[in-house]
């Protein structure tokens, strides 16, 4: 609890929160991290396999193979989301399924399916980026900031 939060709470509220806190099961952080590592690793390995396949059997280089690889993972995640499987894997894997590109596909597809009942335009179109939107917005902002920093360092002769 931050100090600011603490200040706005009455003594009775503070006392209860301490009382309740010790009785709440905490998130199993270590176990969750381990599962995320394993499942996230499996997803990356599958991605790696795709990359090898595209490089070996098709005319792709290591650089150009990344596009069809990402697309394949997105398609798999989309299908799993559509069949209602992805959220069950995620409950087990946590960050392991959210952080890879498959998690990003899941945010878009789940929101699109959910709001299909409100129509294609305002439902699917309006809500598809409900969860993914912040990632895109702040992804662009942080990319911009990093680019500026890099530019300044280069200009100063740092690189």
């Amino acid at each position: 609890m931050s100090n600011k939060m603490k200040k706005s709470l009455s003594p009775a509220q503070q006392k209860y929160q301490v009382f309740a806190k010790v009785r709440e099961p905490s998130r199993p952080v270590l176990l969750n991290s381990f599962r995320a590592f394993i499942v996230g690793g499996i997803i990356c390995t599958i991605g790696q396999a795709f990359q090898f396949i595209y490089m070996t059997f098709f005319n792709f280089t290591e650089v150009t193979a990344s596009n069809p690889t990402v697309a394949s993972l997105i398609i798999i995640a989309t299908i799993l989301t559509g069949f209602g499987v992805y959220d069950h894997i995620s409950q087990y894997a946590g960050g392991g399924t959210i952080v890879p590109v498959t998690g990003f596909a899941n945010t878009l597809v789940s929101a699109a399916i959910e709001h299909r009942s409100e129509g294609y335009l305002l439902g699917v179109g309006g809500n598809m980026f409900k969860i993914a939107g912040p990632v895109i917005a702040y992804g662009v902002v942080s990319a911009f900031v990093v680019t500026i920093v890099r530019f300044i360092i280069i200009e100063l002769g740092g690189m």
């Binding site: 009785r23 709440e24 399924t97 959210i98």
Partner: protein, 333 residues
Amino acid sequence: MLQGYQSWVFHSQPVILASSAVGGPFEAQGALADDFDILHDDIWLGQQSFEKAERLLLEQACDKAIEKAGKKKDDVNFLLSGDLMNQLISSSFTARTLSIPYLGLFGACSSSMEALALAAQLVDSNSAEMVLAATSSHNGAAEKQFRYPTEYGAQKPPTAQWTLTGAGAALVGREGEGPRVTSATIGKIVDMGLSDPFNMGAAMAPAAVDTIQAHCRDLNVDPYQYDLIATGDLGRVGYQIAKDLFNDHNFEIPQEKFADCGILVYTERQAVQAGASGCACSATVTFGHFLNRMRSGELKKILVVATGALLSPLSVQQKESIPCIAHAVSIEI
């Protein structure tokens, strides 16, 4: 009649003529499946949206209760109904179908006992002959409105609860056979400053404790006089906290007679984290399981304390804490 500070005693003892519980596929796998009148194997109920499915659940619960009592829709004077959807769409659209004079109630998951207490009050005060009290909730519809899309892969913490898909209804009348509503205690808002919507059990526990203690104080009864005191949807976390709070307050409550609907309704094998929640949680367990046990003579006197977390998705995002409430209704046979 008002007794004490916040309780009503119903001297005419309105009768629950019939009650019903309707559930979805997940409830059909639950621990109390036998006590549901209708169980659906499709979460969509063949409808286009979760919201329409919830409405159908509520309509079926209302129809079933009226049918079981051997009455007609026209016999019912008022419908008191609540749900979790914005602007109470499930209740209002159901009232449109039933075309019974209607009052919509919002007490979040405490709506079931809010409706039953008010129904008994209307009958007891001669304002009505027969009143239908009903509530519903739908897992998909609630997740969509309050949290994330149902298929979104966010990991839920062990304190999270599973919104029950179902609806419950009770038809309260002046005369007849059945369990009787004898008293009710209207809770006040208790807000202990908790703001985590994935831990509503801990937020609601103090409200449940406050209402149970107020009930015993106002009516001058002892918890030991009840065969069962059941909270609505505290879940495993909130239930444990409530028990410890009673201890802390030196308020003796018989452990084996103290239960929580949110824990009872599902089995250990079902992955619902801390337990069930939703308007239909206390409604289906009370109007199905508990009343069946009363009719079979297993229970004589029970106190149902439906707990509600009165948050909105907006208030959560604006970092507001969760105001909580609990209403208690005592039922005897």
